[in-house]
Each structure stands twice: as C-alpha cells, then as structure tokens.
Symmetry: D2
Subunit: 326 residues, 4 copies
C-alpha cells in the first residue's frame, strides 16, 4: 500500500488528451496531439495561433487552418523558392507577394546572387507575430537585403516601376470572394504582374493542393490561367505530411524552363548557401513529372480565372497561406 505506480496506459491517456483539429474538407478531419498552445492573437484581418504539436512540432495556424509546421515547412518553402531561382540565369531582385511568415524570404536569402528581396504582405501584425515567435526565420527578417512592405501586393506592383528577376506568389488560394482571388486572374498576371518581370524573369506561385483528386480544386485552373499568359509553364508537386496532401506549385516564364537534374545540382552547389534538405535536381525532376491522372486533368482543364469566375477550395481556403495581399 502507499505505492502508486502509474501504469503506462494512464500516462499515454494523459499525453493524448489535448488535440488540434482541422477540417481539411467538410468530411475529412486531421488531428494532432498537442503539447501546448504557445501564443494566440487576432489581427485586423485574421486570427493567429502558434501551437506546439506532438507530430509536427510548432505549427502556425491562421483562422483555424494550418499554415506551416516546424518539421516539414522546408518541403513547402524549398519547393516554392529554389526551382524558380535556379532556373533563372542570375536572380538578383525578388518580389514576394505575401510571405509574412518569413520562411520564403529565408530561402531566397540563401541564394548568393540575390541582392534585393521585397516582401509585400498586407497584415503587419502577422509579420510582427512571426518575427517574434518563429526563431528559424529571425536572421531573414533582419537581413539587410530584405525590404518589408505592408501593402496589398497588387497595389504595390501597380505603383512599382522596377522590374524583378523572380516574382513569388505565397498567397492564400484563389477562393471566390476570398482575400486573394484577384491575385490569380488572367488580367492580373497580364496587366500587373508580367510588366514587372525582367525579360527572362520567372514567376512562381503556390498553387493549392495537387493530389490525385484535390488538384481539381484550384491547381489545374491556376495552371490553365498561367498558360494563357506565359509561353512556358511548369507545374510540380510534393507530398507535405502535415497538410495530409500533395501540394502544388507552378512556375511560368516567357523563357524556356529546361534545366536538367545535373544542371540544377550544379547551380545548387554554386549558388545556395548551406544544404537543401528536400530539393535537388532529381527531386525536382520527379516533382515536375506529374502522375497520369493529374497530367490528363491539367491538359483538359478549360477554366481560366478572370474577374468574373472563381472556383471554390474547401478548407485550405481563405486562411491558407495567410500572406494575403488581396
């Protein structure tokens, strides 16, 4: 008597009693056991939380949607940034639409060729929140090459006069009525964005889920819209564990985008400080060779985003990739 030896069962029960839940779609729920709720807050535009999750480490959540998780955000951000910069002969000036989390800037600033990065996010408080709490991005936020602009990305590009080697879209998905829809339309690409690209400039954007089924939500339509505006368009994808889905990005340019795996690996060694964890030549070769189901579906897509049309994406929606500039 007097000796209480906690059974493992009890300890386990305790360990799993607090959960983060997200409805990926209306009928699909994804739940992470929680260690703690680190910070919560609300900005003018959105609600924001930093959670410490057991399966994926620290997780940034905006309006109830996971934005990025500590242990696998490198997949998203290496995939978003490096292919476009590596395909460009000498990327010096970069414009980020959104990106307030700081991770996109962090990856860009690893490129030795880069002299200037403009990060244009509409939500100053989110930027401040991330600057304070996301330790991994702190150096990036204080890099002298980074210019932080708090503005709507479209307004900023319209008033801008310079041209950029690479423009990166790190925005919420194009939901009809959502904050960023107008930053995915044919007219925006044609009239506002493309004039701000240098002659061999490259545009790349996150393009929503790209799974065997989920690519029809916005990925195929962003692809088809960019095809109306640019000569060369390269879609690619990668599975991101914390998103419970394969994610998509699309690169577009009027110059050919045809570096093979060996050339990419060479440029990685020459240009990028430190070691990539996810992306190298073969990874990109694989990522840009889509599966039969997705290839056919993209080829058959007819919809184009215009001011008058939109396609709905559930869940990874209004909140997703909060770097909203709409």
């Amino acid at each position: 008597m007097g000796e209480i030896s906690p059974s493992n069962g009890q300890v386990d029960a305790r360990r799993k009693s607090c959960w983060y839940e997200e409805e990926i779609e209306q009928n699909l729920r994804w739940c992470f056991a929680l260690n703690s709720i680190l910070h919560t807050g609300a900005t003018q535009y959105q609600d924001i939380a930093l959670l410490d999750t057991k399966p994926f480490g620290k997780a940034l959540v905006i309006d109830g949607k996971l934005q990025s998780a500590e242990i696998d955000e490198f997949i998203y951000h290496e995939s978003l940034v490096h292919p476009a910069l590596l395909h460009h002969p000498n990327p010096e000036s970069i414009f980020i639409m959104g990106g307030g989390e700081g991770s996109t800037a962090r990856e860009i600033l690893r490129h030795r060729t880069v002299e200037r990065v403009v990060m244009c996010d509409i939500d100053e408080e989110v930027v401040e929140f991330c600057k304070s709490y996301l330790v991994a991005n702190r150096d990036a936020f204080f890099d002298s090459r980074l210019e932080l602009v708090i503005n709507d990305a479209r307004a900023e590009l319209e008033k801008s006069e310079g041209r950029y080697d690479v423009i990166i879209g790190d925005l919420a998905d194009p939901i009809e009525g959502g904050p960023c829809y107008q930053l995915y339309t044919k007219s925006f690409y044609e009239d506002t964005l493309k004039p701000r690209l240098s002659d061999d400039g490259i545009f790349v954007t996150q393009a929503g889920p790209a799974g065997v089924f989920s690519h029809t939500e916005v990925f195929s339509c962003i692809y088809n819209t960019l095809k109306q505006v640019f000569k060369f368009v390269v879609p690619y994808s990668a599975h991101i564990p914390s998103y419970a889905d394969t994610w998509g990005w699309i690169m577009a340019s009027d110059s050919p985008l045809t570096q093979d795996a060996e050339e990419l690996d060479l440029r990685i060694r020459q240009r990028i400080k430190g070691e990539n964890r996810y992306l190298d030549g073969k990874t990109f070769a694989s990522a840009s060779m889509l599966s039969k189901a997705v290839r056919i579906s993209l080829a058959n897509e007819t919809q184009v985003y215009t001011e008058g049309t939109a396609k709905f994406i559930y869940g990874h929606g209004a909140g997703h990739k909060f770097q909203s500039s709409g």
Copy 2:
C-alpha cells in the same frame, strides 16, 4: 480589394480547433474546447495538468482524468464537506484523507466551529502544484488551522492517537488494484477509521458516479460496505456538469443523521462564513432522496468491499480524485 473581413465562420473554426478529450467510459467521450494549456508536469505518482477550457474554466487533470473544474467544483466540494459538518453538533477537528487540491480544506475552514484540520495526502508534488496554481484555495493552504501531512492516509490514521469529529474521504474511487482500494474496505472502516472518530463523529466519503446506471460501479457497494460498519448511513448525489454525470457521496455515523431542511439552513447561517452557492437545506433534502431506480439498486446491493473483493470502475478511475493516500 485589400479588404479582408474575417467571416464569423472562420473565427468560429479557429475558436474550436483545440480540444481536451476524456473517455468517460470506453465508449463515451467528453470534449472541451481549449483556450490554453496552462501547466503540465509529472510527479512521482501521477501526471498533472492545468488547462484553461472554454466551457468549464480552469480544469485540473490527473493522469488524463478531469479532477475538478473551476466553474463547478463548488458543487462537489460543498456537497462533500457541509452535510457532515452541519449534521455534527460542534465539529472542531477534521481529518481529510487525500484532498491535496485544497478545495475540501477551503470549505471546511469556512466553518466557525473548526479549530483543526489535518489534510493527509500522499503526493507532495500535487499539493505544491495546487498551492501554486489554484488561486481560489490559496488562503486555505495558508490558514493556521490547517496541518498538511504527506503520508498514506491509512498509515497516518493507524499511528494517530487523537480522535476527529469528522473524517472526510476525498480519494480516488475503489478500483481493484488501484491506489485507494484499501481505503474503502470494511476492515479499514472498522479497524482503522472508526476508532479515530469521536463518539458522535461522522464519516463522509466521495462515492463515485451515482447516475441512474453509473451508481452500480462503486456507489452502491461503498454504501453497502458502510452499512456493515455504521448504524446510520445516508447516500446523496448531485449532477456535476463537467463530470457529465451525477456524483455521489455517503455520510455515516453511529449517531442519527436527521436534521431537516430548516435546521440545516439555521446552522448554515450560524456556522458558515460567506454564502454557499450550491448547498442549503432543501438542496440536501433533494440530494438525499434518491430516485426509485437508484434506491432499489442500493437496497439490493449485496457486495461488501473487503481485501479480497473489488469492483472495477472505468475512467473516473485510478486517476480520479487524485488525493490518493493508498
């Protein structure tokens, strides 16, 4: 463009994305939305957490089981303490088996007659945790009438020589193999506890769930065991919202326990400092008149807790009412 007005839907989604979950029974789950996880820790005996929940305020959780919640712990603790003290003509000395949370002592110390309270809990770290974090009990912990003893309650009562007017059992339920089983047996009551009660002394114990179905887990058996040892035994119950069940307590004595509602109300006014929120004469009259289903079941109970028998209770089990002294 540029205006992002967060829809209520999104805000709601965020508000409900973090949850505390408890399996009340194997097939029954009870979940509270979380504001934050205030503190977590592990003692020699058990794991402990203090959560800030939306429906029930701050909640103390031991080994994955809710112990008490800020907004309704007064129901449990007023029901545990006041009936016994009010039925005693002049309660001066009180012994608490368990009670490390401090709420039981807090309610006892509101009685003007009380001169000495011994709180005997086996887990020093839980007591320290509660002393630090449960603000509502701070005064009680520092009241000069309170003696805190870190020991097994049985060992303490065996070596003790004095006698108490009221002994209060604020212990985990009697699960076979659980930490407190031996503090609910006929032989413990007869040989150890009763000799430490004064002549008109009263024993009261929490007695597990007492719902229309759940009372068969341990309530009816504790009742029947006490009937073997004491002349007068009074079971009573109250619904506690955060427990998702009706809870039970049992009062026992060799003196009659027959105060009517008016007499109880008079004694409350005379003896108790401050205002009770839950318990008064009519509340106790109602609480001690059990429903037909439970009355019949108690009358028909034949099992007695001895060293050789035990009944299992799921969930509100080993961890429940952590003030373990076993």
Copy 3:
C-alpha cells in the same frame, strides 16, 4: 508462424473507430461509439437518423441532435407524463403537442383512466419513421384510444372545441426563429392553450436543460412565463445520462398541485399498468425540490416569452425534441 492471435489492443481499437458526435454547446462535444447506422432519411422538415450506439443503445437523432436514447428515454418520458396525470383527479382526455416519437403516448396509455389521446405532430414522415423503427412504441401507435393528427399544434388547438384534462408539450425548445418558439409564449398559453384545458386541467411541458448553469437558457424563462398565466407552477428536473445534462419539465394549473409522495405512490399503484422504472413519489419529491442555485435563479427571472422576445438555446435547439408543431 502462421498463428495470428489478435491482441486486445487491436480489438479495442476496432471497437472504438466509429463515433457519433454532438456539440452540446459550441465548446462542448459529446461522443458515443457506434455499432451501426440503422436508418437515415430526410423529411420535409428535418433530417432523421436511427443509430445503434454502444453506450446508450438505439438513438434517434434529428438534425444532428440526439432526441432520445433507448436505455434512458424512460427517464424523460416518465417525468414528462406521469406527474401531470397523477396530480389530476381523473385524467381521461389528453392532448400531446408534438410527441411524434410515440414514447409520450406510450406512457400516457399506461394510465387506466385515459380514454382518449390526441397526438398532434406536424411531421408525418417522422411519425411514420418512428412507427416503423421504434419497436418499443409499436403497441402505443396501434392503441385504439390514440388519435394521430398531422397538423401544427396551435392551429389544431385553435380549431378544436373540446377540452382536455391534461395537455402535454413535447416540443423543441423555444429558440427565437425556431420552429416552436410561438408555442411557448404567454399569449399562446393564455389565448389558445388554457381555454382548451378542463377546469381542473393541468398543462405540462418539457422545458429544456435545467442544470446548475444550463437552466438559464430556457427553463427559467418558460417557468416565469407560465407563472404569468397559471396560479400554480411546479418546475422539476432529472439528470438524463445520454443528454449529458439535467433536464427540466414544468407543470402548471389553476388547481393546486400538492400531492405528497405517499399519495403519488398510491395513485401509481391504482392507475398505472406495469411498473415505472424511474418515477415514484419520492423521486418526484426530490425532482421538484430544486437546488439552491436554480431556485434563486428561477425566483429572480424576469423575462417572459412573448411574440417579441426570445432567448437562444444552443445545441439542444431547433432540432431538439423534434415533435415540432410550430
């Protein structure tokens, strides 16, 4: 090799993989492990499902809200029906507003004095669903004393000329904008319902959750509204495990409602066929003696339901007690 002995862990995991979930309130979730989904359907007014749950047996769910569960619906229906009929000297004719599930009629028809029961529910398909699937109520549905009317209860009472000994409200809670709000207003009680009661007639209604906190949602306000219209008003409550709350009913009449426990027990023996499982004299005495917190709150309630006011109840709301007649 070749022998696969399933571990208990795996079996357990399987047993708990299908769940019914209900948000009792916005921040409070109640989940039952499922054996199977027996039937689902949609009527003109509402969605309906019959589930086989592990903790509570077969469960009727309307619009995502539990209506009644096999193992404890006797608590709700015995509490709704018997006190009113037992307080009446000789209840012969009964009118049920709502009640399409059939359980209320079943309990009424157990009374030997009863000659005529009118069940007036607006949703014919729900009645047919329950007639088909709720085996326990089948005899009641085919009892020759039962008249089933498909109509709005107010319209039916307005055009009705007879008078009833007991009128029973088995309706959804009075949510502003909900289907049944207008069946809880002072003017409805005064102008429509009371004229249809015989001189010593009794009205009883389910009155929503009646827990220490939840009674402020609608219970106290229904109570206060009835006090404006009837001389004698008796609120009472009982914990219903599958509702995860204490539930309330209110009885009202212009004749005194003062039978003591012994008289009730006598009338039960004389008038009711078969054995009650939950309700007897002492149970009602306890149920009608509310706890201090609730008594004070009822006494202080000032709101009256009129056509122009309403109080919101979350969850057990529009759908709860589907016997909508609004």
Copy 4:
C-alpha cells in the same frame, strides 16, 4: 407559423455527426465522415468492417486500420502490380502472398500474358467477406486463371515445386511480433522466395509508408534487406490520399529493371486490357525517382531484417494490408 425550413447549418451538422477515426500514429488522427456502417464481422484472425465513408467511398477496415478505400485503391494496386509485370518480358505465372481483398488479383488478371495466378491468403473468412461485398473484384474472384489457396504463404512456397515469373507481397508490414514479420526477412527471401522465382523473375512487395519522415519505419529497411538478396532493387512511391501518406513499394530481381517511360507505355498498350487510371510510363519514372531526403536515408540504411531483428511501425501495423500469411 407552421413552416419549418431547415437551415443549412442544421443539415450540415447532421451530415457530419458520424465519423470513422483512425490513429495513424499515436499522436495523429485521421477521421472520415460516415454515411453508414455496411458490414462488420470477426474472423479467426482479425476484426473486419466495411464502411461507407463520405470522403473516400467504401472502405475496408481490419482491426481498426484502413486497408483500402474505394476511390483511391487503384493507386495502391496499380502501383503494386503493373511495374513488376511490365518489367518482365512475358509474365505468365504469378504468386500473391496475401491479397485476400482481391484487388491485386484483379489488376494482374488484366494482363493478357497471364495464364495462372495463385493467391495465397491465410484468412478464409476475409477472402469470403471480400468476395461477397467488394463488387469491383467479383469478376477477378471468378476468373478461371485464379487459384485461391488458404494457407500461410511461407508454408505454401516451401512445399511448392513450380516457379513463378512474378511474386507479389501484399502483406501486413513487418512489425516485430506481428503476423508477417517473417515474410520480410533476408533468410525468407533467400531460402524460400527466390528459389520459387523463374530465372528472370521479379519480386515486388508493398513496403509500408514512404513519406519524407515515415519511410524510416520499414521502407528503408525492407529496401536494404532486399539489396542483400537481389542484384537489382527499385524502390518507388506514391501519395495515397486515404492513407494520409505517401506509400512505398519495392521491386527486386537478378535481371536488370530498366524500362524507360516510352517502353512501359508501349507494353501497357500491348498487354493490359482496359485503361490504367494512375500508372503509366511517366508516372513510374516519377515514382521511382525519390526525393533527396528519402534517397539519402535509403543509401545510409544499415539494418537488415533477420529472424532476430525487427523495426516497429505504428498504426499501419499488424492490421495493415491484412492479407496476412504469417
């Protein structure tokens, strides 16, 4: 009055009240809204259920673990079967270890070259369950080229005298102490399996999760074990939405496995009846080019499965790919 218009909110709530939940890992939960629970049962070896889920259609669940879902099982089964058969010059005889669901046989039987398929599963009742309920596989179960053997796969291969062009492992993952561990060891591959392959025969096995993190559970170790036994080993992977992960397969042979995308497409057209939905030449080229993180990890793997070693995999474990033959 009298009109009840169900709000969308209520309808939605109803739609999502029944859920299937699976713990992918201890701290990670994946939940599908349910339409219904079609069938449940228990065999000598395992518990089995057929669910109708909203996001993924009909889902086969064994011992609480999802085996395959109607809308995306084609990804798993096309990936398991076609690469091996297409790399073989003329696959006529095929042996399936496990495969009781019937989908693997179904894909094999689409190959015009195939003359004989032996499906060896230990659990007859699972095979009967699938034959009865999985309509899509019915033709396969009744194809005259299929021989169904109820036996442990190892015992069957040991007593067998013939040789097979392709042997396919469609078994639960190699968990230490699990039912199939011994069917993944170096000695089994060397002494039992390889002697039953024809000279240019190919072995392919499902190889557990192959995500950026999850590939270390068993994928890398199965790969390294096969490298000890076969001259040519090709790992490949694909994201399967209903598994919430990328899945892996490994093909092994002593003949080179070097068909390029065009040759594979040619053979698909020549040999396979009907149209593949997922797999074609480019899909396999992409699937077999692993990402940097996984490639490095596989290259550095040193563990080999032997009778004395094992690595644990959580969740998609003992139950996963139930076609157990251990």
